[in-house]
Amino acid sequence: MKSIAYTVLAGAFSLISAFAADVGKPAPAFSGKNLKGEAVSLSDLKGKIVVLEWVNFDCPFVKKHYASGNIPKLQQEYTAKDVVWISINSSAAGKQGNYSAADMAARAEKDGNKASQFLLDPQGTIGKAYDAKTTPHLFIINKDGVLVYNGAIDSKKSTDAADIAVADKLFANALDAVIAGKEVTNAKNEPYGCGVKY
């Protein structure tokens, strides 16, 4: 009787923590499959700085950052600094941006995606655990597994690539601070983009 109650309670607790993506708190645990079908878990990445990037290659805001090379360049720059960059697509079946693993791999290659991992999350499990709202929506998790950034890629809410050069680099500045062991300013801000098509 007692052990059943304990299990139920433990289940309830993990459910609660799964829905809290608060800056300053432990980042919600997740596990997903990459495009090769291999399992990727956040728990395996302790000791690494992890970036989560919600992506939808057909969303005009994402296209702004990929066609310009902005996000691929950030992926390359920071994975070279030992950051684990995970691109995640949570588009539900039949909705914009949802692709099979093979098609997503082809599209990621074509659009220049240079992430360490690419997870398919068509059930929206990881998306909802983080309350990912838009594509793009960026999260940074520090080496201790604490969420230290939840917000926009930059400060210009537009689909115009010309705005990238003049925008405040909210995400990149935050990641630089995390890498340097400094405090992140503006750690939580409103992301812009298309809705994640759950």
Binding site: K95, K188, K197
Partner: protein, 265 residues
């Protein structure tokens, strides 16, 4: 008979109206009240957008996600253009995100201002870009629109009523209508003081200021003595105490706008 023929040929001669341009999930056109302008006097134009069924576009405060229309002008020397004005929106919930915007036809008035001296025949060009979304997808649109204007007294285009109606649909400040905002925890207490004839009971109220009110909040006012009160959740992205809030009030008379600005301490 003859006058009708003359009228018809006059309508054909006036370069008042190009065909709408389709892009993405909408069609847009630039309309004007007159084919002419007078130096130093405002020229009223508008971007009329027809959004495909089952898609919507966005208000100046789009809510969560989304993006408002952008109009970038190439203007003749000395001319200026206002930002587009936004009619009263509707609320929608798309794929879990709360937004504000428009379905069907929406007309955004813009005021062009010629300089004090005539610049002859002119052709201002508007580069318009916008976003339409539904539950499944988001599709952008863009178009280059232009109209020609010649100096002279007002010459009707046939669109003057549409432009005038668009201007009338824009929320404006109302004498005697004031807003006060106080904060308590993560709640905003709104107090509207309105003329006795202003009935907010059935009004639809929208937050024009971005990142002030939590998305999806229904702003419902109830009478409290002489004033109207509402309590709403503050937006999680508001940084620090709220400094300004503009509300748009529809359905209580002509569309109204009221602004509160925090006192400087």
């Amino acid at each position: 008979m003859i006058s009708r023929i003359l009228l018809t040929s006059a309508a054909v001669c006036a370069v008042s109206h190009a065909a709408p341009v389709r892009s993405g999930k909408a069609a847009v056109e630039l309309i004007a009240a007159s084919t002419t302008y007078q130096a130093g006097k405002p020229v009223e134009v508008a971007v009329r957008m027809k959004v495909d069924r089952e898609w919507h576009t966005y208000w100046s405060n789009p809510g969560e996600g989304g993006m408002k229309i952008s109009v970038k002008w190439t203007l003749p020397a000395g001319w200026t253009a206002s930002e587009p004005a936004f009619p009263v929106p509707k609320s929608f919930h798309t794929g879990g995100l709360a937004g504000y915007g428009y379905e069907g036809t929406v007309v955004f008035p813009i005021t062009l201002m010629p300089p004090a001296e005539s610049t002859g025949e002119v052709k201002p060009v508007a580069n318009v870009s916008w976003l339409t979304c539904n539950d499944d997808a988001c599709v952008p649109g863009k178009a280059e629109l232009s109209l020609s204007f010649t100096p002279g007294p007002v010459a009707a285009t046939g669109d003057e009523d549409a432009v005038r109606q668009a201007i009338a649909s824009i929320p404006t400040a109302v004498d005697g209508l004031t807003l006060k905002v106080t904060e308590k925890d993560q709640l905003l207490e709104l107090t509207v003081d309105a003329a006795a004839t202003f009935d907010l009971a059935a009004a639809k109220v929208f937050p024009e200021t971005e990142q002030a009110v939590a998305p999806a909040e229904k702003i419902v006012f109830t009478k409290d003595g002489e004033v109207w009160k509402a309590t709403v959740k503050k937006n999680e992205y508001a940084s620090g105490p709220l400094k300004k809030l503009t509300l748009v009030i529809a359905g209580a008379g002509a569309p109204a706008k009221v602004t509160w600005v925090a006192e400087k301490s």
